[in-house]
């Protein structure tokens, strides 16, 4: 009897967790749909959009640039060492390029922006919520979804591909610097190999991923901020939730997008 009760309790607990998770996914989906619909309907706030483009895009450039620069360099070293096992050191330029453009550029930029921008959005909107600034917006005839959420999501979706494009160039440059200065590659041959091997589809797939990751980062930041609990602890938790959820979703959606864009 005791064993049956225990078993029932375990099943009930799994059921409760599943229902809570489904409810959370449902709330997020409704929030995302509402944000998209507000992006498409007037009034628009171009000044807010520009400010967010600057904040999310321009001010993330140093962190994304440094991340991709060092990653490109490390990638060149790894591919050289790995390629040496079967006399394929010459593949360094092409594999660095394809690795950066298709995978590492968008994923690393996405994760860095999730940490920098996702956290900042969640903390800003969370603080606005607990200090009643969001209620104040409503009483001032301004829809918070239009004024706060739509410009941030749109800006992140636009800015991320641009950031990744620049990040890719810097990452390839990192590989080039290590390749020519440390691994004795000929500079002209390195560039030729890179340019000849890369296809437009490689670059486009990375940019599509970047746009999706930008959307995810801003969506999770705004959603977590909007659903922040009270006080400093609530805002802190919202910030953590935004970064963790965005990072996990970036990695999961990266796999799905890769399956979709490069079916085996």
């Amino acid at each position: 009897m005791l064993a049956i009760n225990y078993f029932t309790e375990v099943l009930a607990s799994i059921g409760r967790s599943t229902m809570a998770m489904l409810a959370a996914i449902g709330r997020l989906a409704v929030f995302a749909a509402s944000a998209i619909s507000h992006m498409l309907r007037a009034p628009f706030y171009p000044r807010e959009l520009l400010a967010q483009l600057l904040k999310i895009g321009y001010f993330s450039l140093p962190v994304v640039g440094l991340t991709t620069l060092f990653t490109g360099g490390a990638l060149a070293l790894q591919i050289y060492a790995g390629g040496a096992r079967f006399n394929a050191e010459s593949v360094v330029p092409s594999i660095v390029a394809i690795g950066m453009v298709r995978e590492l550029g968008p994923v690393l930029a996405g994760l860095m922006v999730a940490g920098r921008v996702g956290a900042s959005i969640a903390a800003e909107i969370g603080t606005m919520k607990v200090t009643e600034q969001i209620d104040a917006l409503t009483t001032l005839s301004t829809n918070p979804m239009k004024y706060l959420v739509a410009p941030r999501i749109l800006a992140a979706t636009i800015a991320m591909p641009l950031l990744v494009l620049i990040g890719n160039v810097i990452g390839i440059l990192g590989g080039f610097l290590v390749g020519t200065l440390r691994l004795d590659f000929n500079a002209a041959a390195y560039i030729n190999n890179t340019v000849d091997f890369l296809e437009a589809g490689d670059v486009a797939s990375g940019l599509i991923k970047a746009a999706v990751f930008g959307f995810i980062v801003a969506l999770m930041g705004t959603y977590s901020g909007f659903h922040s609990g009270r006080g400093a602890q609530g805002v802190g938790q919202a910030t953590t939730n935004a970064v963790v959820a965005a990072s996990v979703l970036i990695l999961a959606s990266n796999y799905l997008l890769t399956e979709l864009l490069f079916p085996a």
Partner: protein, 251 residues
């Protein structure tokens, strides 16, 4: 003063899970009249205001504005102003933009120069110097932030104004100044006002009528002049700030 109800609440109920905050509120506020809602912490005063504004949806009951259910909230809000407990000023905007925020939105928005001029005029109305307009909220004291919040609430000369705990966190002198300003502004604009407060000096300075909330219902409702002789033990305990009485001090 007319006896036309501007805002009427009929049987308004709201629960958050098992916490039944409002258990059937019946209340009306006449046009041009100032109602102050009092009651202990957690009795649902702020929830009541947010239900009227549509920020929180009531579970049951009716809220009528000018005798009809609110169909166009945007229209109602365009003639509405609110002073929030903590000011709720937008940190990222200078004071002038906070004050003129509503007037910088929409098709008929004011130019930057006109908005600054209007903001300075409203700031002067609440006793602040023009240079404050170009500071950011974080650079101001609590009392100044409250005044800026008040200037923002009256910027579009609203016909309905809500004040949420207008004197909380202020020293008695600043609280007196804010109370006087609120009374003056409400009279000057001829606005319908609802204020929620614990502060009895605010009640006596601002109110035409007073309603006391307790246990999710309106415990007492009457003219401010009658509050000392309400004959209600709950009201007596509250207005005299006594620890002993029917209201439990541990809630």
């Amino acid at each position: 003063m007319s006896t036309d109800p501007k805002i009427t609440l009929k049987g308004v109920q709201k629960a958050f899970g098992s916490n039944h905050v409002l258990r059937g509120i019946d209340l009306s506020v006449d046009k041009g009249s100032s109602l102050v809602v009092i009651g202990g912490s957690g009795t649902g005063k702020s929830v009541l205001l947010k239900c009227i504004l549509g920020i929180i949806q009531p579970d049951a009951g009716e809220i009528l504005i000018d005798g009809a259910t609110l169909k166009n909230r945007e229209e109602f809000l365009s003639h509405f102003g609110m002073l929030f407990q903590g000011g709720a000023l937008f940190d990222s905007l200078p004071v002038w933009h906070n004050v003129a925020f509503r007037l910088r939105q929409g098709k008929a928005k004011l130019s930057k120069a006109d908005a600054q001029e209007l903001a300075i005029e409203k700031l002067r109305r609440v006793g602040l110097k023009p240079e404050v307009a170009f500071q950011f909220p974080a650079e101001l004291s609590g009392g100044m932030q409250k005044r800026v919040g008040l200037a923002r609430a009256i910027a579009s000369e609203p016909s309905v104004i809500f004040f949420d705990e207008p004197t909380t966190g202020l020293d008695p002198i600043m609280a007196g100044v804010i109370n006087e300003l609120i009374r003056e502004i409400v009279v000057d604009l001829g606005a319908t006002a609802i204020t929620i407060t614990h502060d009895m000096s605010s009640v006596r300075a601002i109110a035409d009528h007073v309603a006391m909330l307790h246990a999710g219902k309106v415990r007492w409702h009457g003219k401010v002049g009658d509050i000392d002789d309400s004959g209600d033990a709950y009201v007596d305990q509250f207005i005299n700030g006594r620890a002993e009485g029917p209201i439990e001090s541990v809630r």
